[in-house]
Symmetry: C2
Subunit: 335 residues, 2 copies
């Protein structure tokens, strides 16, 4: 394949071999600037054959770009949130590499800014994607002050910041409505950290459904900030005492804890109690009985986040952003 000649690794190599200028080679490869079809094709053929690709770093330096996007992930996310982050990452990575960008990750704990600062101060990224956004977080403030483009994954009210989000409110409203329409009016709602945007969006959907149907939500049965088995146990106890007809869990982790508690107490689902989750995973599907949940297209969410960021950077990603959508999946637990 490769002649005995040394490998072609730089633009210069290509130019020399072809007896043209670097300028010409550069133009042939990038497609920018006027160039005759003949020359362009000659260069392209050569480049193809020799498996040459310009150094992204050098290109970046010349253009004052890095072709890197920073992705900020929480370092402490729970197992339950995992499919969400994995799918997000999948979507983000795919769009990024389609556009010849790369993803640089950073796992951040709490409100620690140092990692984010490192990336921007070292000038390693052109923009950032913030996941599990905390509204008005220090991170967002910092990025704004430093003029770093970013998009936020999660709910967002700030008109100046670009964001993408699952339709949590809508989906949870729909699911809640279905339960209410089944005649189950005393519903317990078990949720996670109130400081998270998702929690609030889902809660809103829950309330919305009640309002829409003119049913009073049972405030005393709304129990947030559930983080572990013990707390879940207490919440379940309370729901049972209050003779709730159903329990809605705000995510799979909580649903899982809830199911464990119910099992201990030998409660029959769905006969004695309906149960559903505002999220969806294999666990729910394969449970006995299978649990009603909501399926979000998180890969697409990730793709959208990445595309929006690329647009902010002046790129023009092939595909358009598409609404990520959701499906409520009814299973035996709410029969």
């Amino acid at each position: 394949m490769q002649e005995k000649e040394k490998k072609i690794t730089t633009l210069d190599d290509v130019a020399r071999e072809l007896g043209v200028s670097k300028t010409t080679v550069s133009r042939a490869i990038s497609g920018k600037g006027r160039i005759s079809r003949e020359t362009r094709e000659k260069v392209q053929r050569f480049v193809e054959e020799h498996d040459y690709r310009p150094s992204a770093v050098a290109k970046g330096l010349a253009q004052k770009k890095t072709y890197n996007l920073g992705l900020i992930l929480p370092g402490d996310y729970k197992a339950t949130e995992f499919p969400f982050f994995r799918d997000c990452m999948n979507g983000i990575c795919e769009v990024a590499s389609d556009n010849d960008y790369d993803i640089l990750i950073s796992m951040v704990n709490g409100e620690d800014l140092s990692q984010i600062q490192r990336m921007v101060i070292n000038r390693k990224v052109d923009g950032m994607i913030l996941s599990r956004a905390v509204e008005k977080s220090a991170a967002q403030k910092y990025l704004k002050e430093n003029g770093v483009p970013f998009v936020v994954i999660g709910p967002n009210e700030d008109p100046d910041t670009v964001s993408v989000d699952n339709e949590n409110r809508e989906a949870c409203e729909e699911l809640t409505e279905i339960i209410l329409m089944k005649g189950i009016h005393r519903i317990a709602l078990l949720g996670g950290r109130e400081s998270y945007g998702v929690t609030r969006s889902r809660y809103q959907g829950f309330l919305e459904a009640h309002k829409k149907l003119g049913i009073q939500a049972e405030k005393s049965l709304i129990m947030m900030n559930i983080d572990n088995r013990i707390q879940a146990g207490k919440a379940v106890e309370r729901a049972l005492e209050a003779r709730a007809g159903g329990i809605l869990c705000m995510d799979d982790f909580i649903c899982d804890l809830t199911l464990q508690c119910l099992r201990e107490r030998q409660i029959q689902i769905p006969k004695e109690l309906k149960i559903a989750s505002f999220y969806e995973s294999d666990r729910l599907e394969y449970n006995h009985p299978p649990i009603t949940g909501i399926r979000f297209d998180t890969i697409r969410l990730g793709k959208n986040a990445c595309r929006k960021l690329l647009r902010l950077l002046g790129e023009n990603p092939e595909e358009e952003e598409q609404p990520s959508g959701y499906q409520v999946i009814l299973r035996e637990s709410t029969k």
Copy 2:
């Protein structure tokens, strides 16, 4: 804080303001080359005050380095493997950023090489970390051929490739031994994909323990490639029919499926059957009854992987690699 003068963003800016040469500034910052203490401190003070950091990209170009490490993650990993990857990433990111490197991720499905090739052909990374290594994989071959330094996370027999791994064999041997010594000799072993290195290492540990105690392993009760609830159900059925005294699950996902199956059949743990997992998670700890498992220090594993790669690249990470170790955690399920 910052005067009305324009912001200091390049070496040149610093040099001009201070009336010295770029060379001097560069030396003061990098600490390389002879320079008077006085000058060095002057520069450092200025740099500090103006919050200046050299552009990593430009620095990289001049040094023919990128200060980026590629991390290859499987795009399809299961929920059960998640804490493993998250902790790995945490460890890797921490060490990387301590050494002013960044992590570039790529999610790869199956044996698709294109993402890996992109990274190396674009010259975006100095080296790579391969997680969930498949022995002799195409990826490893490709990296070797192209002279890209890499380390593998997982079992590895190839003397030419650097790797790190949890002590799966040892840990599983220890746990199996404990069960056997309790007089439980008919043990069912439920495992995941045989093509994964982890599976094989753990299996070995299981056999090793039997050999050590001179007990014959019940081959007919060794059931691999369990991937879903149905298969787990069949395996459990078989174990019960054969009157196994205990079930060892090769990871938490399988353990979880197994527990569900046992619950349906109303089997009492540990009275009728002991059960333990070759991994550990919250799920196991909070189960009723709590399940015996093995805790690996995966964060440290990730750190070690990163440190080894940095060494390969000629860096000298602060801390030494430390054995990552493990603890067998005995809980009620094997009482």
